[in-house]
């Protein structure tokens, strides 16, 4: 018997299959959409109002928040099996790291600063 190898991994045998209807209710979706719309409005306002040194950080934070909200709620990542999140965010994080690394060799981030 090979007990040494009987590990379980997190992807293993998630309980059965979830309820057909998962995720939020339609009303909640609308609220989320309104929040997204508001965030977009702030983003666009940076074009009209001078945010000074906060300009870039604001935009990056808003972008990230919008991204995650859409992925978590509209794309159900928050309600679905974690495996889906792992698959998707692995790709995303890998992309960010790898391309940021490549750009930094062009002194890309230094030019700016």
């Amino acid at each position: 018997m090979s007990t040494a190898t009987e590990h379980n991994t997190s992807t293993e045998h998630a309980d059965g299959h979830a309820d057909e209807h998962h995720g939020a209710s339609d009303k909640q979706y609308i609220v989320i959409a309104l929040i997204l719309a508001a965030l977009t409005a702030i983003e666009v306002s940076t074009y009209y109002i001078d945010f000074g040194p906060l300009f870039m950080p604001t935009l990056f934070v808003l972008m990230t928040v919008k991204f995650i909200v859409v992925a978590s709620y509209f794309m159900h990542l928050k309600f679905d099996n974690k495996l889906f999140s792992y698959l998707f965010y692995t790709g995303l994080i890998l992309a960010v790291l790898v391309y940021a690394g490549a750009l930094s060799t062009f002194k890309f981030f230094l030019q700016k600063g």
């Binding site: 209807h21 997204l36 666009v44 991204f67 509209f74 495996l83 698959l87 890998l94 750009l103 890309f108």
Partner: protein, 204 residues
């Protein structure tokens, strides 16, 4: 892109009952495809970021972008995500009529976005930014063009879905088919969220 259309929908049906993880094959495949797309768009965005300031001839980014216009079309695309999720939700309630309604609206919003992009491209072209004008031109059109093609493929998928739902031609789990297209659609939206910020709002 060919694979997008294939991996949604039709090799579908009965997986959910029997898979080792209890998860649907189709959905897993779609998520992996989207993870992979992150590296595709990442590459295009990085190319653009590297090159946006390199303009030997023709207009600079900030001379040409029409932020109010693009904000509106970004907003349209964002709202199409809402209608899409409402379609999924209707499909999960097995409410074909509303599913189709929301899908159609989503497709229309998407078409508006693409229309806006076509208008934007022609406007830029008239202002002197051709595909070969400068590095900014090549990388801008390539990035936004790729995204536009993704949206267009999404519209085709939505319309096919509407047709197939109304004729009851979807083999297997209908809600899952809708959800699958939805995932793709939201992803395209999410990519635009990034593009809108990095390309349009942050000037060169």
């Amino acid at each position: 892109m060919a694979d997008t259309a294939i991996s949604h929908g039709h090799d579908s049906g009965h997986g959910a009952h029997v898979t080792s993880t209890g998860l649907s094959n189709n959905k897993m495949a779609m998520w992996m495809f989207l993870g992979s797309e992150c590296l595709l768009f990442g590459g295009l965005i990085s190319t653009y970021m590297l090159y946006k300031g390199r303009v030997n001839s023709g207009p600079q980014p900030d001379q040409i972008f029409d932020i109010p216009f693009t904000s509106v079309s970004s907003f349209v695309l964002l709202m199409s995500s809402l209608t899409m999720v409402l379609a999924v939700s209707a499909a999960q309630r097995k409410d074909d009529r509303n599913t189709n309604l929301w899908l159609t609206i989503t497709a229309l919003l998407g078409a508006m976005f693409v229309g806006g992009q076509v208008y934007e491209f022609t406007a830029f072209y008239r202002e002197g930014l051709g595909f070969t004008t400068s590095l900014f031109g090549s990388s801008f059109y390539t990035l936004t063009g790729f995204h536009g093609v993704h949206v267009s493929v999404g519209i085709i998928m939505l319309m096919a879905l509407v047709g197939m739902i109304s004729r009851n031609r979807i083999p297997g789990n209908k809600a899952e088919a809708v959800e699958m297209v939805g995932l793709y659609w939201h992803f395209v939206d999410v990519v635009w969220i990034v593009i809108f910020t990095l390309v349009y709002l942050i000037p060169a």
